[in-house]
Symmetry: C2
Subunit: 405 residues, 2 copies
Amino acid sequence: MMNIAVAQSGGPTCAINASLVGVFRESLKEPEIDAIFGSVNGIEGIIENHLIDMKTLIRSNDDIELLRQTPSTVLGSCRYKLPDWHEDDTVYRKITNTLIQRQIGAFFYIGGNDSMDTVNKLSEYFREISLDIKVIGIPKTIDNDLCITDHTPGFGSAAKYVAATMHEIIRDSSVYSMPSVTIVEIMGRHAGWLTASSAVLHALGETAPHLVYVPETEFSLEIFMKDVRHEMAKHKAVIVAVSEGMEVPDGVQSGVVDNFGHKYLSGIGKYLEEAVRSEIGCKVRSIELNVMQRCSSHMCSSTDINESEAIGAAGVRHALNGETGKVMIFRRVNNMPYTVVIETADASEIANKEKFLPDNFITKSGNNISDTAVRYFLPLIQGELNIIMDRGVPKHFTIKESVLK
Amino acid sequence: MMNIAVAQSGGPTCAINASLVGVFRESLKEPEIDAIFGSVNGIEGIIENHLIDMKTLIRSNDDIELLRQTPSTVLGSCRYKLPDWHEDDTVYRKITNTLIQRQIGAFFYIGGNDSMDTVNKLSEYFREISLDIKVIGIPKTIDNDLCITDHTPGFGSAAKYVAATMHEIIRDSSVYSMPSVTIVEIMGRHAGWLTASSAVLHALGETAPHLVYVPETEFSLEIFMKDVRHEMAKHKAVIVAVSEGMEVPDGVQSGVVDNFGHKYLSGIGKYLEEAVRSEIGCKVRSIELNVMQRCSSHMCSSTDINESEAIGAAGVRHALNGETGKVMIFRRVNNMPYTVVIETADASEIANKEKFLPDNFITKSGNNISDTAVRYFLPLIQGELNIIMDRGVPKHFTIKESVLK
């Protein structure tokens, strides 16, 4: 008999709690596993021995279904990166103390790049001190930028929200008779996956988004202006999708700096809005999808939520099979019908690495997304959950603030 | 036999097309009515004789259901205010020509304050020239600031989206162990109805939004900072809802002007974010719900959509009863169970006027919303539509750009 621990880390998504449910449900089924501890605020809870007995929190199938569709991280999160244990093992000894004291035989870390670094380092450290505690990473990120895996849990729901909202923004932007430009800024600091996913609307027959700019391509304000003017000749309401991480060359920027204030205040969307206003002078608006794109569970993809639960559950089975230092991944076996299998990869191959849009996902012009990409994205946004409502608003599973303190 | 015309005006909402469906469906039933003309881009379409035969566009019950749940204005919109006809009747004569040429006996204008001014002026003009064409206003605005009516079509859906999204933002903001402030900027230039509606979450047991600022109260940055500090002592993640229309005194603002750039670029949310950052120095974020709050039909209120259709249909019946220069309104007969009746008011009593939050909707402290207000808001956000999906994204009813040109 052993206990297990699970923690959630990094930026919120719609699917992190579904992966937690996957770990929880699978562990309930395993006669080898006794207590299921939830660590408060990611690895910080393990360091500080701040664990919650999950069975006292999740008490019914209704709780499970509600938690599955609750956005963000019910156990809290952190942005904590472990130091190199060769240089300083203080924190590692604290972690080891907690895990031994709680008789924990396996630790599941749901998170992004940084958390997979934690999985890698912890499993190496345990191997070094010959401690038999399995460490398994369950990926999550709306950025979809993890290596090896076909896609990441949380991405499909974010992409579905972005597509649905972009569709509605197209309707909203098309009402007046005057020409206009609408710029939608979408998350993605280094990789353009989420921004690119807005192009799934082309499969519905929409010409918008007419222009899509991702960090994988070099950006030039001059070419951007040319692109916009070109689209304005064809469409009354031009819609542009742009990644927050687009690099704007300082030289280009200096020309309009006086018109749009300080850089840290205005993202790329606001920057381009001001540039269009000053150079073209038409009606122009910029929209930031902000945190809504990562937490709008009311528009989650059931494919994503179900897969996120399944990948959490698979993590438990792999740990019980004796694996450690592994990250669970998806491999797409077939696109039509869409079929994925869950496998493992070495955490060292995923930690601290990023995956970018392949060249053939971007059109040759560099300002839109290819049909190949749309075929990749579409299966990930399919299906809806039956959202549980309370007084007209989606209901959430929550833990009292006092329990988390 | 006569024909009728219908037009949509002002800013988009989730319910304007539902009111169009109401006018269309009711007109189909009436043996007195022959052609149903849709005017492209509001009154501009009447002025320019740019009308579409709606029966060629809406051809099935599937079309009707899809149009009911499509956001924005399918016929386009305008921001056109009629001049005083005593001074210049050129436009009035153009309108009259179109209506007579098309044998239109009744004109239905779906819109906000300005459109009700059009209803008022046109009906007066027709009376003056003894022309028997009925003019009826069907209200719509997410601002809920029309006089006499209990609430406006479109408001309930906007309020439901704001509440659902605010709920998700609360989850998103609560994950880290460090204290934080999240400021959500909500539409409403003069009246705080939509911002106030976010307080319905209190009925679900949420303490957030912890602070709500509406234009109906005087704003002081000093008191705001005191309020925020007070809430930070009680809650790790403080959530603030603020109306875009809050007046920030110039004197107060000058102190932080260097930190946040030009005013026309940053709304009140960004302004308060910078103020909290510079004065408190904690993690702080501002979020603008932007056009999503008026076009997110995927989270519309079925109460709102059904009422919006019903008020459109009622307009047709009142026109056939010989009324003109009237605006259709809701009167709330009972709150529990929620019951409304549809009546009429004189357009002159509604045009160009605004309705503000009553005093008892705001708490005595001036920084939150009362339970009385929550009881008013709750019935308006109840119920969901069965959203029609296409390849993972809500499907919309659209008219080809070439038809609208």
